[in-house]
């Protein structure tokens, strides 16, 4: 029996919708909007999204007032020919005072007014400079510097820059490097995990006794917080007291123990090894679940038909395991692609993957605009990867 939804039933899913909107959808949309701005939280003129220029009218009027006062004092002290210039300037400043005296504390301006005000400030500055030699004692020459600087901060221009951040991304070598690192890490770690996980799953599927013990030990690395296990590996890789580093040097895998945490190749290898250690068991459990639903009768009949173990694997196990394998691969790929904790803790950020680069940009350098572009690019790549997998899966995932 399927019923239609009433408002009462809608209330049941309302909390879900609220949480998803506030903590997932809204932040995603915000990140997209950040990409269009030169948004830097450590810069006072850029620490919010200004679609239009804004003016701090109170301060601006006050500053105009000061300038008018200085100019009026100065006018009697200059030549007849220069008086006209100064009087004209006073008139302009008075007009500004009148225009903004009664408006709100901060207002947003149309683009034309924005330019008008900047032009006026520039003009005043120029007058002050050009008279500096002729009349070194004028108030407008000696005292206006500070006022003008303050006036400039009253006017915050729009930091909307359209797609400039995106074009910067295209020519950013560091971004290209991060994309390369992320793909190398993802592809290598996921394929090693698939191979080892498959072997482990096949063994666990065969072994009847002892499977409980294997399963328990398999769950431990998975259940430990990545940030903690990365710290453990950091100790094992340590150049002076790390046992894994010492062992690898002894075995000739690396030339010297300190290389695992200091060189580009070493850190990549180390990160992949730590990731493989942590998630292979998870992969194995996913694949094992797929193996266990395969009808045992199929194996019996294939062995009666004389198929060897390899033939059985390629003709029965693999095809029937395909969908669980793809689901496991999809989740592992996306998980590896957004890797952050592991590398951030293990080496404090090398090899620099996309997440690491984005986090350094946003939180480290407070450059939310450009950092968000990196994240949005990641988002697009994740969507593409998911799309490819789902195409292969034939939308089995979302089906009821």
């Amino acid at each position: 029996m399927q019923r239609r939804m009433t408002w009462k039933e809608f209330c049941f899913i309302l909390p879900l919708l609220l949480l998803v909107s506030v903590f997932s959808l809204y932040p995603i949309l915000s990140s997209f909007s950040y990409t269009l701005f030169d948004y830097q939280t450590n810069n006072q003129a850029k620490n919010a999204l200004y679609t239009a220029a804004t003016l701090n009218t109170m301060l601006y009027v006050e500053d105009c007032d000061y300038l008018v006062y200085y100019l009026n004092k100065d006018i009697p002290n200059v030549d007849e020919s220069d008086r006209a210039t100064l009087t004209a300037l006073v008139d302009k400043l008075e007009a500004q005072k009148a225009a903004y005296a009664n408006s709100e504390k901060t207002i947003s301006l149309p683009a034309a007014t924005d330019q008008e005000i900047s032009a006026l400030i520039a003009e005043t500055e120029q007058v002050a400079q050009s008279y500096a030699e002729k009349y070194p004692t004028l108030r407008i020459v000696t005292k206006s510097g500070q006022i003008l600087d303050e006036m400039k901060t009253c006017l915050i221009s729009s930091n909307f820059i359209g797609l400039t951040n995106y074009s910067r991304l295209v020519s950013d070598d560091r971004f290209g490097q991060a994309v390369g690192n992320t793909f190398v890490f993802t592809i290598l770690s996921v394929s090693v995990e698939l191979l080892l996980g498959m072997a482990l799953a096949l063994i666990m599927n065969k072994a009847m006794r002892g499977i409980g013990l294997v399963r328990t030990t398999a769950l431990i690395p998975w259940a430990i917080p990545t940030a903690v296990s990365a710290l453990i590996w950091c100790y094992l890789y340590d150049g002076t007291s790390g046992i894994v580093a010492a062992l690898f040097t002894r075995l000739g895998i690396i030339a010297a123990p300190e290389l695992l945490l200091t060189t580009a190749g070493g850190t990549m290898f180390g990160a992949i090894l730590a990731d493989v250690w942590k998630t292979t068991p998870y992969m194995a459990l996913l694949l094992l679940a797929g193996l266990q639903v395969i009808d045992r009768g199929l194996y019996e009949s294939s062995s009666i038909d004389g198929a060897g173990p390899i033939r059985t694997f390629t003709s029965i196990t693999l095809p029937l395991l395909k969908s669980s394998m793809l689901v496991a691969l999809l989740f592992r790929t996306l998980d590896a692609f957004r890797v952050y904790d592991l590398i951030a803790v293990l080496t404090k950020g090398t090899p620099e993957t996309l997440s690491i680069y984005a986090y350094k940009m946003m939180i480290g350098q407070s450059n939310y605009g450009y950092g968000s572009v990196i994240v949005v690019a990641m988002f697009a790549m994740v969507a593409l990867i998911a799309f490819v997998y789902v195409k292969v899966l034939g939308a089995e995932l979302i089906q009821e």
Binding site: F12, P225, T240
Partner: protein, 288 residues
């Protein structure tokens, strides 16, 4: 002829035996590699500082002068407070996520409505996108409402925990026959009552799996806490343990001792609830 009959029953048997030995060797190998990092951390945690760094003693399995000083130091540094924080944050997350997920899964499993497929796709999509995309805006949001450095971070955990929770719950609620609910409705239960008094208890295994998976992923969360709760008083385990590593020195003795302490709750959960965890991991992976 006689030699053949003597060998034939023996041959496959011997093959099988070699196969068995090989398989068990692999299994033991796997278990050793899996557990080695922990055992080594355990070994190190009892070593005095001099032995951890000494060239001769760094790789000894048993410390020459075993000590529990490392443990005392990290306890004094307040590592247990971060365990407490983690318990609070993960506990609250589990409670509200299980409630919200049950309510929505009940509707999704039982009622036909427009946009249901879209809703499920959206939830699946959320579990896939890179978490990094929400960090900046969430930080701004928490900054604006003055929620930084507080337990409110649990609400932000919904992004990483809710999708899986809803997914598991829907699968379990669907298995409960609709006739049970109809009987409850005839007996005068409202929808609210039939959810909490009939469906929810009947789906207890699924609820339990959801709760454990939610708890573990909240316990392991690093990125959001790192960004939103920079203050020591509100740091959870994954963040707090990394602050033991200072810029100039790495105190492995303290770090290993802290690791052992903070890993105990996780180990307890794994040992007690491994069935539920395996079911949680594999739900959705296998089509029935």
């Amino acid at each position: 002829m006689t030699t053949q009959t003597a060998i034939q029953p023996d041959g496959p048997d011997q093959h099988r035996r070699i196969g068995h030995v090989f398989m068990w060797a692999l299994i033991i190998c796997f278990i050793c590699i899996n557990l080695f990092p922990f055992l080594w951390v355990l070994v190190t945690s009892f070593k005095p500082v001099g032995e951890i760094y000494g060239a001769e003693t760094a790789f000894r399995v048993i410390a020459i002068n075993p000590t529990i000083n490392n443990y005392l130091t990290v306890v004094n540094k307040g590592i247990l407070h971060s365990v407490f924080n983690s318990l609070i944050v993960s506990g609250i997350t589990t409670l509200y996520v299980v409630m919200v997920a049950s309510m929505s899964a009940y509707i999704i499993a039982r009622i036909h409505f427009r946009g249901k497929t879209a809703l499920m796709s959206l939830i699946l999509g959320i579990s896939m996108f890179p978490q990094m995309i929400i960090v900046g805006p969430i930080f701004n949001m928490f900054y604006q409402f003055r929620l930084l450095n507080s337990y409110w971070v649990t609400l932000a955990y919904s992004t990483i925990t809710l999708p899986l929770a809803v997914w598991i719950m829907v699968a379990h609620f669907k298995q409960i026959p609709i006739s049970v609910e109809e009987a409850a409705r005839i007996d005068g239960c409202s929808q609210w009552q039939s959810l909490w008094k009939v469906i929810f208890p009947m789906a207890a295994p699924g609820v339990f799996t959801t709760a454990i998976m939610t708890f573990i992923s909240a316990w392991n969360e690093y990125l959001l806490t790192l960004t939103l709760n920079a203050e020591k008083d509100f740091q959870t385990v994954p963040v707090a343990i990394n602050t033991l590593r200072t810029q100039f020195s790495i105190l492995w003795g303290e770090i290993t001792a802290a690791t052992i302490l903070v890993v105990i709750p996780t180990l307890a959960i794994v040992l007690l609830f491994q069935k539920q965890i395996v079911s949680g991991i594999t739900s959705g992976a296998v089509k029935e």
